[in-house]
Every structure is written in C-alpha cells, then in structure tokens.
C-alpha cells in the first residue's frame, strides 16, 4: 500500500519539475516534499558513501535544543500573567494562557519569514535552505510576550531580508538574522521591547508593571544584589527563570539544557559557549573588583551576570550560529570570549542598552571574518609551503 502523501507528491511532480506548468515554484514544492520525505539521491561522484547527517537533521537538533526553552517560556508567560492578575494559577492554566500569548508570535514569525524565504527561493530558483527553521523559532523567543504581532512581522521581515537574503541567503549572511530582526525592533520600537516589559496584564486584567532584571539598579546606596532581591530577582529565581522577560531568555537552567544538547551532539561548537561563559565570568569578576559602583551592575558579580538577561540564551543559540560565527577554532574561542567581555562592558558601561548580549553578538558577528582571516594567515604560515 503506497503512502497517500507519497502518491500526492509523485502525482504532482510533473507539474513542478522539467517542463511542468509550475516549474517556477519548484523550490516550494521541493521544500514541502523533502520535509516529509528524506531525499535519497544516488551518488555519482566520489566518495560513494556519505554521512547520514544533512542540514535538515542539523537544524532539527537546534530545534530540539530549543524545545525546553520554548516550553518553559510558554509556561512562564502564563505564570507571569497569573502573577499580574494577582493569582496563582495551576500548571495547565499557565500553559494555556502562555500559549495564547506566545503561539501567535511564533506562528507569525514562521509564516512571514517563510513567505520571504519562498519568494527569494522562487526568484533565485534555488532550493529553500533549512536555516530558517531555526531563525523562525529563535526570533520569537527573543521578544517580550506582549509585543504587537505587526512588530513581529516587521522584525522577522527585516531579519530575513536585510539580515540574510540581501547577502545571498543562508550561509552567506554576516549577521545572525534573528538577532538582526530583534535589533531592528529594539531600536525602532524601544517602548515595546525594553524596560517595562510586563504590561502583559494590562490586556487581560489590571496587572502590575515590572522591569526586567537588567534595568534594576540599587538606589540610595543599596547594593545591586539587594535591590535585585527586593525587586523579586533572587539568584535562584533568575536561574530557574520564573521572572518577567523575553519569552525564551528568562530561564538560565533551560538555556543550559539546550546548550548541553548542542554541545553533546556537536551541532554547536563548544568553544563559543565555553569561551563566552569564561569571558563573561572573568570580566564580571574584574569589574566587581574595581571599587565603586556598588548600586550598579558592575557590582553584581559573575553569577548574576550569567543568570540575568539573555546572556545564556544568546551565547548558546545565537552566538553558536555557525554561519555568522568564525569558522576557525581559535577564532571561535576569541569570538566567544569577546562576546562575554562585551556583554558585561555594555551592561555596566551603558545602562541605556541593558541587554548587552544582543549588541555584543552582533558586534562580534561583524568581526568574525576578520578573526578567521587572522587565524588562516597564522595557520598558513605554519604549514610547509606546497606550491
């Protein structure tokens, strides 16, 4: 008995390939077909055996690593709405309410992003790359759950078109497309992106307004940690993630689970993640040891820097994007460490942009080719010349 879906694709094949009527739309047909059925062409050039890993599998692992963050983000959104409403809701209700907020953002992100991908693929006549599977999920996770959907659509459009397609598509982009989209929204619509994120309750019931952890500062000689504790951001809460913030970034624990999945499967390069964490810890310790700034983030110490804000999310999922990160191993160490360093410096030195990690990653994305260039130069000089 033939699979009916398979039959459908076999029946429609003549329309979309060769001299078919809809030949132009072959990328769309192909993307749909290969989503359901793993292509298995015969090899005609050496080597005649190939590894089973392909780009679909590669990107699926990233999606898998993002699942804990996504589910926790949905749950936490509902939980925060509950707190906003002054009630403590059961788990299912938290999930349902959270899904009510988060799912539309994810759906809009995928729908609008894929529309652009299809458009460019059809125009250019190449197949649709799987890279967007990840971008389309990463982007909503960096947004506050209260963001208007039209902004989501605008942001993902900017990310996909300006961040990726104008450079030639997946594999050729300089910046991480999801972060490009977020940066666009951050600078264009600062009100909905930052500061008082949790106005969510406003739409539902009269809720409280709270600031994200990074915008907290100690006032009147109060130390930063004490101020954070007063604002409901104890270290434990920042680690588990039951705090307001962007959908995916609040839980350090879930980000770490994702990071471990990515490192064990070697989809993400551990050098970026470890280098990034090391850079952040070292820099925050140095900043901590510099006298003064008791009430600002300079005195928060490495653990708070690690758990608050989107650092772990960024370093695990954004910085490890292989395309926009350096392609050489020494380059990856430097890249990661520089992101950690810059994150702390931006948080401490420029409180106007509390979320330092986004800018740090984008900044280092720009320098990734330069890092590669230097490493390649050095490596070439070490080889016995063979020309």
């Amino acid at each position: 008995m033939k699979n009916p879906l398979k039959k459908f694709f076999d029946d429609t094949k003549p329309l979309f390939t060769g001299d078919g009527k809809y030949k132009k739309y072959e990328p769309v047909w192909d993307a749909t077909k290969t989503f359901f059925f793993l292509p298995s062409q015969r090899i005609r050039v050496m080597p005649f055996v190939r590894d089973h890993l392909d780009l679909k599998r590669y990107m699926s692992i990233v999606i898998l690593a993002l699942l804990p963050v996504t589910f926790f983000g949905i749950y936490n959104t509902g939980y925060q709405v509950g707190i906003g409403a002054g009630e403590s809701w059961p788990v299912t209700q938290c999930f349902l309410v959270g899904a009510w907020y988060v799912l539309p953002i994810i759906i809009v992100s995928y729908a609008v992003g894929f529309a652009w991908e299809f458009l460019f693929a059809v125009m250019r006549g190449h197949n649709i790359s799987e890279g967007f599977l990840v971008t389309g999920l990463l982007f909503p996770l960096t947004l506050p759950p209260t963001i208007p959907l039209w902004q989501v659509a605008l942001g993902i459009s900017f990310g996909v078109v300006i961040g990726k397609e104008v450079f030639g598509g997946t594999g050729r982009n300089i910046l991480n497309p999801a972060l490009t989209g977020r940066a666009f929204l951050f600078f264009s619509y600062p009100v909905s992106m930052s500061g008082d994120v949790w106005v969510a309750g406003k739409h539902l019931v009269d809720g409280v307004t709270g600031a994200t952890a990074l915008s907290v500062t100690g006032a009147g000689g109060q130390s930063i940690t004490a101020a954070l504790g007063d604002a409901g951001y104890s270290l434990g809460q920042l680690f588990t993630g039951f705090v307001p913030g962007s959908v995916g970034e609040t839980s350090a624990l879930c980000c770490l689970i994702g990071a471990v999945i990515l490192m064990v499967t070697r989809i993400a390069n551990y050098r970026v993640i470890i280098g990034g964490i090391a850079g952040l810890v070292i820099t925050s310790v140095i900043v901590y040891l510099i006298p003064g700034g008791r009430e600002s983030w300079s005195n928060a110490g490495p653990l708070y820097h690690l758990c608050a804000g989107g650092f772990l999310f960024g370093i695990s999922f954004m910085a490890t994007d292989p395309v926009s990160a350096p392609g050489t191993n020494p380059g990856r160490w430097i890249f990661g460490a520089a992101i950690g360093f810059l994150t702390v410096i931006i948080r401490v030195g420029n409180p106007a942009f509390m979320e330092g990690v986004m800018l740090a990653i984008l900044f280092m994305n720009v320098f990734a080719p330069l890092l590669d260039h230097l490493v390649l130069k050095y490596k070439s000089s070490k080889r016995i010349p063979n020309v």
């Binding site: 292509p39 050496m46 599998r57 390069n269 395309v323």
Partner: protein, 447 residues
C-alpha cells in the same frame, strides 16, 4: 618503527572485512587494459582492433612521455577499443587465448639491479609497463625519472578500507619485494615503508625480512595509511613535496618483472559487499568485472574504493591501480520524516543520531546522498575529519572566489583526496571533487 599520530579520519565499524583465504580465478575470456583510472594521462593508442598482441606488448602510451608504455595483460586479439566522453580512450579489450605468449626480457638478479645503470633501469621498467607504478607528489602523476626524490613512500595497503592485505600480496613474493626495494634505493636513499597497524601482525607472522623494513605504522583510521596522509605526517622540508610513492603490489610487480623478465600478470583483489565476507582473490590484471562479481546486483553501484575510487560499469575491467571492488547497495526508499528519526541504524561520524551514542554497531554504508545540496554553513565538519589539517570549506571558498594563491597557501596541494570532507559535509557539497579538480588544473597549468 614509528607510529604515525593521525587521529582525524573515518573510524566507523564497517563489517565487510574480506576473508583471509585466497581463491584463484580462472583466466577469463576477455581482459582489459584500462586508461580511465590513470591520472593525468593523455593516451595514444598503439594497436588496432583485430591485431594480435602478446602479454607485455604495448597497447597505448602517454602523449606526454611516449616512452611510458601501458602493456597488455594477456595474449590474444584486440577485440575492441572503448572510448568515453569526448573520445577519451577508456579501455583496450583483449580476447584472450588460453596460453600466454610473453614478451621476454633478460632476467636480472638482485645484484644486477644494484649494478644496473639508472637509465637502463628506467628504460626497462618503462618498456615493461611498470614505471607508472611509481607516482610523484603532489598531483600523483607518473614519477619523473630526471627527478631525484627526497623521499619514496611505500604503502603496504590500498586505497579502500578493505584493500588486499599485504601478507597475502607478499605470499611467495618476498624476493620480489626485496628486488623492488633495491630498485627504489637506486632513486632515493630515504625510503618510508608504511603499514596499517592491523596488517603488521600478518606480516610479522610470515617471519620474513619485510617486517624489519617497515619504518612507520599507521593507525587503523582511514586514510592514515594513504601516501598523501603519510607524506603530510612525515615531511619536514619543502623538497619532500615532490616525493614519490608506490603501492606494495606495484613494487612486487616491478621486482617480479626484473627477476623473471616477464610482465607479471597476477593480481590480488578484494570484493566487499555488506553482509558478505568473500575471500581474497588471485586474478589476472585487467580482469572483467563480470568475472569477478558475477551478476551485478540491482539498485547498487560498484566502485573501486568507496571513498576515492571510480564507478565501474558492468562491462568494465579492473585497472592497473585498482585492487578493490566495493558493491554498495542503495539505501532505503525516501523515508518519511527521515530527518526526525532517532537513527539507531544510521552510521555517522557526527553525534546527531542515536547510533553514535551507543556501542558502534557495524555500519551499513549505502550509496545514497542522504540529503540535498545546500550552501556551506561553516560548520567545520570537513576540517574536523581532514587527516591533513586542511580547512576544505575555506579552500573551496577561495577557489570559488578565484583566489588560487589563497587556496594554495591554505594547503590545497597537501590534499590527499581521501574523500572524507565530502563524506562528512552536512550540506552535501562536493568538496573533494572541487579540491581535486583545482589541484589537477593547477598541476596542468604549471607543466
């Protein structure tokens, strides 16, 4: 003996190890002399269809050096001459007679080889159709007799995971091996004899002088024993970039040829197929594929090295440089949601399938691409597996950008064409082919 420290490469458990017995196959009705598998050759045909040739008669030569001859592996009439794409000579097929008639040369003994003038030695080897067994880096063209190589590498094992074992090739051929080594010593005083660790035991058991001459042991990680990988590991100076290399079976052939004065027609081949364990086979040079494997299994391809051989069509003959035949079957049909399956039965060098987490079960390699071509995403899987510390993705990008100098600086000419970068690439980019073509183009340009 030194052990080479090569840790990058392919070390999955592939269960197609041939049996260590050796079966003899009868003389087939046709033998072929292949030009298709010879790198860089510009063949010039020397015979006509219908002409009778003796074993050892020249069939074609190379326009670039017409003193190098490619000789007939059998006696009989030239049955047909096969051309490939753009009328490139592919094969000369001989309809064999049951009795061989040899072109005879004067036998030389071991002392004779040491005493022979170098030019005379080169001439007789060229005439005998064996000089081309010696290859010269970096492009692995035939060795230039004018050149004095800083190093000659003798590799005991072939290009595939399951190429014939050296102890079987060496059986009864120890003196020929010694003669071959004596020939090499005429050309260079630095010889590196490299053997896979798993083959060492068998050679030691023979109790001959061969074991003492092995200078390097290569780990059992493909392609640690390839001449290109070995050269990269042991080279210390620029002069060694144009080293020579020779495979054990060709070395033994050279020795036998000089000692007997006749073209040595025997050859050991292995045939691998998933789930089967066939014995080694002693066959003739230029054996037709049909006589080796019988009926061609449907839906599969036959290659002469799963990573870096060529595809054999069903009427093809085994070439001079080929001694392994892999039957690689097609994979399963297009799997539904194939990308999301746990993948217990999917061998991979990555860590993205469950098969890589548990005890490595024998991997069933098939000839499917397992995906579609995509843009390079800079994942470095190619770099991680390259035995020669190249960064194939960066070299590929330099080549696409037309920056040949950059590609060369990144070590393009150190590529040993093992095929692993293409094997591992999740974007299914034909890296090996791109690098290999660029190497050949550069080499041709420089000539």
């Amino acid at each position: 003996m030194k052990t080479l420290k090569i840790s990058r490469g392919f070390n999955l458990n592939v269960a197609e190890q041939p049996d260590l017995n050796c079966a003899h196959l009868a003389l087939p009705s046709s033998l072929g002399c292949c030009a298709g598998d010879i790198p860089h050759i510009r063949p010039k045909l020397l015979v006509k269809e219908g002409q009778r040739v003796k074993t050892g008669d020249a069939l074609f030569t190379d326009k670039r050096d017409t003193t190098i001859e490619y000789v007939s592996p059998g006696t009989g009439l030239v049955e047909k001459v096969l051309y490939g794409h753009r009328r490139r000579l592919m094969e000369v097929v001989i309809a064999t007679e049951s009795e061989d008639e040899y072109v005879e040369y004067d036998p030389v003994d071991l002392d004779g080889i040491t005493g022979m003038p170098r030019d005379a030695l080169v001439t007789v080897l060229k005439k005998g159709g064996l000089w081309q067994g010696l290859r010269q880096f970096p492009a692995l063209d035939f060795a230039d007799p004018e050149h004095s190589p800083a190093l000659i590498i003798v590799v005991m094992d072939g290009n595939d995971l399951f190429s014939p074992r050296p102890e079987i090739i060496l059986e009864d051929n120890i003196i020929a091996f010694e003669a071959g080594m004596a020939i090499l010593r005429r050309f260079s005083n630095k010889l590196a004899v490299v053997c896979r660790e798993s083959s060492l035991e068998g050679i030691r058991e023979q109790g001959s002088s061969v074991a003492d001459q092995i200078t390097h042991a290569a780990p059992d990680i493909y392609p640690a024993w390839h001449p290109g990988a070995v050269l990269y590991q042991i080279k210390q100076q620029v002069a060694e970039n144009s080293a020579w290399c020779i495979r054990l079976d060709h070395l033994v052939m050279m020795g036998r040829f000089l000692l007997s004065g006749r073209y040595p027609v025997e050859k050991i081949v292995t045939i691998t197929r998933p789930g089967e364990q066939r014995p080694h086979m002693q066959v003739r040079q230029g054996m037709p594929l049909s006589a080796l494997i019988g009926e061609m299994p449907g839906n599969s391809i036959v290659t002469t090295g799963r990573f870096n051989g060529r595809v054999l069509e069903k009427d093809a003959h085994i070439g001079f440089f080929e001694n392994t035949v892999n039957i690689i079957e097609a994979g399963p049909e297009e799997e539904m949601f194939g990308f999301a399956r746990p993948g217990l039965n999917k061998p991979t060098v990555s860590s993205t399938f469950l098969s890589s987490l548990f005890i490595r079960r024998p991997a069933n390699m098939d000839c499917s691409l397992h995906g579609e071509a995509r843009a390079c995403i800079n994942c470095s899987y190619c770099e991680r597996i390259c035995p020669n510390d190249l960064m194939p993705s960066f070299i590929m990008k330099s080549l696409h950008a037309g920056e040949l100098e950059d590609a060369l600086a990144l070590g393009l000419m150190d590529c040993c064409r093992c095929g692993l970068c293409s094997f591992a690439c999740p974007s299914k980019i034909e890296l090996t082919q791109i690098l290999s073509d660029a190497m050949d183009a550069y080499y041709k340009d420089k000539q």
